[in-house]
Amino acid sequence: MSAANGTPLLEVGDISLSFKGLIALQEVSFHVNQGELFSIIGPNGAGKTSIFNCINQVYKPQQGSILWKGESLMGLKPNQTAERGIARTFQNIELFAHMTVMDNILSGRHIRMSHGWVAGSLWMGRAKREEMENRFKVEDIIDFLEIERWRKYPVGLLPYGVQKRVELGRALAMDPELLLLDEPVAGMNLEETEDMARFILDIQDELGISLILVEHDMSLVMDIADRVMVLDFGRKIAEGPPSEIQSNVDVIKAYLGTTGDAAIPEFG
């Protein structure tokens, strides 16, 4: 599933990140191909979220490179990574709590609109046209995620599971090429998890968006990921297709703290 021209969509090379002596990431390398569902797993504090923050340039790794279609993302502002085509959902929901579902998802269209405050304040020309057009796009996303009935509610008032969907909707609204999902099914029941898995696969297959999935739910990861990378204490300890990862001794050690002879129970 590599890109036609052979360059991966995202290529992370030997990044290291530390906070005042605390090492969060140590020489981590990986790549994501076009159309791929790449998953990052690892115990708490392994550095998974930190990788997302490096890609978004919220954190600036002290070493290493991050290439997007062959061009460096290093030194960009977070909003510029969005403009490149990278969207994200968060481990702890980071919606705009006082805005409606509609406005939250519309705010994902920010980078796909161009009118400024003058046109906006006069409701003229491009502002009016763009607002109307993007409204349709957002309705499509709302349909796709089956959240029609919540459209007009401030998201802060909605149930957790719905908020998770809205957050996914907001990210999809950006028309991204790469979507970073940080624990999309954490705290969800089985039914909600299955819905989410379905959405993720649809995003990959129908919308053709590449994904990086960070998730603790092993059965989900092993079911849907194309490739898996395992992090432990900021270091990469394994990478490969799900079947290989499941039987990898280092991985089992990282999760159980011992060389258990059984596979990790949670695994598929």
Partner: protein
């Protein structure tokens, strides 16, 4: 579709400025009434007192402060940047207006017409806002409040010392009248600064000024409302609610904070200029910290983040002191007029002579008791606390509840 009146059948109707017919009708009625206020005495059944000239002044005051409140609401309510610098930008706008608009004399003045001095009173504070903004918007939360507080003190110092512009401490100067001139001709095309006859109606100076202010307020409201519901407004709100997530969604935080700062300063400048001209004379002490705090109070009471909240809060904060004053005068009247329980109660509440005890003291500076001014300040303090505890959405929240009640009417679910 009968019985389901609030479903929108097309996106464009849903997105319209005033989505429901009810809202349109209410607003239209409100605007017509507001516009007819000056000729109230000649319209049967119109609340008569509204036509009085001192009510015209109060309503003008509401309109002018409403513009200021829309500005601070954009910055603090919508974009979430708590600024105490509003008074500074209002003062700046006022002094820009006076330099451009007042006739040359002992103090600086270019004597240019209103269509120059009024826009300038917005443009120059916006530019200054954009110049000092980068330093201010890099800091967050309370630090921003402190940084902008500094602006107010610098401003007060500057206004006292720039005598050739401001007239100096406690002296002040006259501000340009509301007169519409093409250039510097003797007789203005439209004169809002004297009584006259419009469309066959006798109309006082106060009423004319009020209509003009109402017009400005309507424009300012439309602009603020449009801004808030389009791309820029969403970016402001995104930064307010979650700044890092907003950046990751593609919002250039620095740029949008700066935009909010600039637009808010422009609103403040225009409001300051209108306020100064409307009062006629202003001293440098007008533009103090208390004024900034008053605007924060307005949006807290009204409900931060909404246009209607900002306007309701303004009306409330301006009209309340007036009601307190009328109330104490009414009580004083009762005491003087005679006996009875009411008079005794009134006597306990207000003091009308130096040796008279009472909770409210109508003779400033004498005896115990609160002055009307102090009473107002205490009332505002209490109101802010009450609103923050019980109704964080302010008056707007109360209005929402009433509306939701009637939306479901006659069903109570």
């Amino acid at each position: 579709m009968r019985g389901r009146p609030h479903l929108h059948t097309s996106y464009s109707s849903d997105q319209a400025l005033m989505p429901t017919t009810t809202k349109k009708v209410v607003l239209a009625i409100f605007l017509v009434l507001a516009a007819l206020a000056p000729i109230a005495s000649s319209i049967p059944f119109y609340p008569d007192f509204l036509g009085h000239n001192d009510w015209m002044k109060i309503l003008s005051h509401v309109a002018v402060f409403g513009i200021g409140a829309l500005g601070i609401n954009l910055l603090t309510g919508v974009a979430g940047q708590v600024s105490l610098g509003h008074a500074f930008f209002m003062g700046l706008g006022a002094y820009v207006a006076v330099v451009f608009g007042s006739p040359p004399g002992d103090l600086w003045g270019l004597g240019l017409p209103m269509w120059i001095w009024l826009p300038m009173a917005g443009i120059i504070p916006a530019i200054v806002g954009l110049l000092v903004g980068p330093a201010a918007v890099r800091v967050r939360g309370l630090y921003l409040a402190f940084a902008t507080l500094g602006l107010v003190f610098i401003g007060e110092w500057a206004w006292r010392n720039l005598k050739f512009v401001t007239g100096g401490a406690f002296a002040g100067r006259r501000f340009p009248d509301f007169q519409w001139r093409v250039w510097k001709e003797e007789t203005p095309v439209v004169d809002f600064a004297s009584d006259g006859v419009w469309l066959g109606f006798e109309i006082s100076e106060e009423a004319k000024v009020y209509l003009l202010m109402l017009g400005f307020l309507v424009v300012a409201t439309l602009v603020a409302k449009n801004l808030q519901r389009t791309r820029t407004g969403r970016a402001f709100q995104a930064i307010r609610d979650r700044d890092i997530a907003a950046e990751i969604m593609g919002v250039d935080e620095f740029r949008y904070k700066l935009t909010a700062f600039g637009i808010s300063s422009a609103y403040a400048g225009v409001a300051g200029a209108l306020f100064a001209s409307f009062v006629g004379r202003q001293i440098p002490e007008t533009w103090d910290l208390f004024l900034s705090v008053e605007f924060i109070a307005i949006i807290l009471i009204g409900g931060a983040g909404t246009v209607s909240g900002a306007l309701m809060g303004t009306a409330f904060v301006i009209v309340l002191p007036r009601l307190v004053q009328d109330f104490t005068e009414w009580l004083s009247g009762i005491i003087e007029s005679g006996e009875g329980t009411l008079a005794k109660v009134a006597d306990v509440v207000v003091a009308i002579s130096p040796d008279d005890g009472g909770v409210i003291n109508t003779i400033p500076g004498v005896g115990p008791g609160l002055s009307v001014f102090q009473l107002n300040q205490i009332l505002f303090g209490l109101l802010i606390i009450l609103f923050m505890i019980f109704e964080p959405l302010g008056l707007y929240g109360i209005w929402l509840r009433i509306r939701n009640y009637w939306k479901g009417w006659p069903f109570t679910y």
